[in-house]
Symmetry: C2
């Protein structure tokens, strides 16, 4: 079955364990949805409350809340309470860089 045994062995050695792979996939999956990327992009330069994010994402407040939960669980966003409102922000600088790299890649793909 295996053709290039040495390469497979090397790749197998270099591959992170299943838990790490799953975590990695989960993070990308978090950004792998139009609504959630839009949320993340909107939070790039400022913090926003749920209802404003709903307006920007173009879906119901409930829908945004569900997606924010996903992003929270994956440590992409965090929030602070401001009275009745929950104001969300990006947690991690990695996310900023990842978004920008993704945009660069998407731009190249469109061009090519």
């Amino acid at each position: 079955m295996i053709v290039d045994g040495a390469a497979v062995a090397a790749a197998s050695e270099a591959l992170p364990d299943d838990i790490c792979v799953a975590a990695l996939a989960a993070v990308f999956s978090a950004l792998g949805d139009p609504t959630r990327v839009r949320i993340a992009l909107a939070l790039l330069g400022r913090e926003l409350c749920v209802c404003d994010l709903a307006a920007l994402a173009g879906i119901s407040q409930s829908g945004v809340s569900h997606q924010l939960r996903v992003l929270r669980d994956l440590r992409v966003v965090a929030y602070r309470r401001d009275g009745k409102r929950a104001v969300y922000r990006l947690i991690d600088d990695h996310v900023r860089e990842v978004l920008e790299l993704g945009l660069a890649h998407a731009a190249e793909s469109e061009t090519g």
Copy 2:
């Protein structure tokens, strides 16, 4: 409905158009699956043929082929023919960086 009109306007202005958002989501979505990240990670340091990737990913050759099609369509991987084999490689340096940033983020999330 909208609370912070200025912030919403600014975010709305900064948001890419729908097509770009969709493309961005698609790229992240491509890496947002354990099998496909594993494929991408395996290809980080070398090129590999389909059957070797199947062995590394732990699914059928057919399954890998389906996933490679996704990655091909999104310009994440490309392949060359070597006789009967199809040898795949990562196309884009952005992908390498994105993977590494993702790993860094995942590592931090595990720690925290």
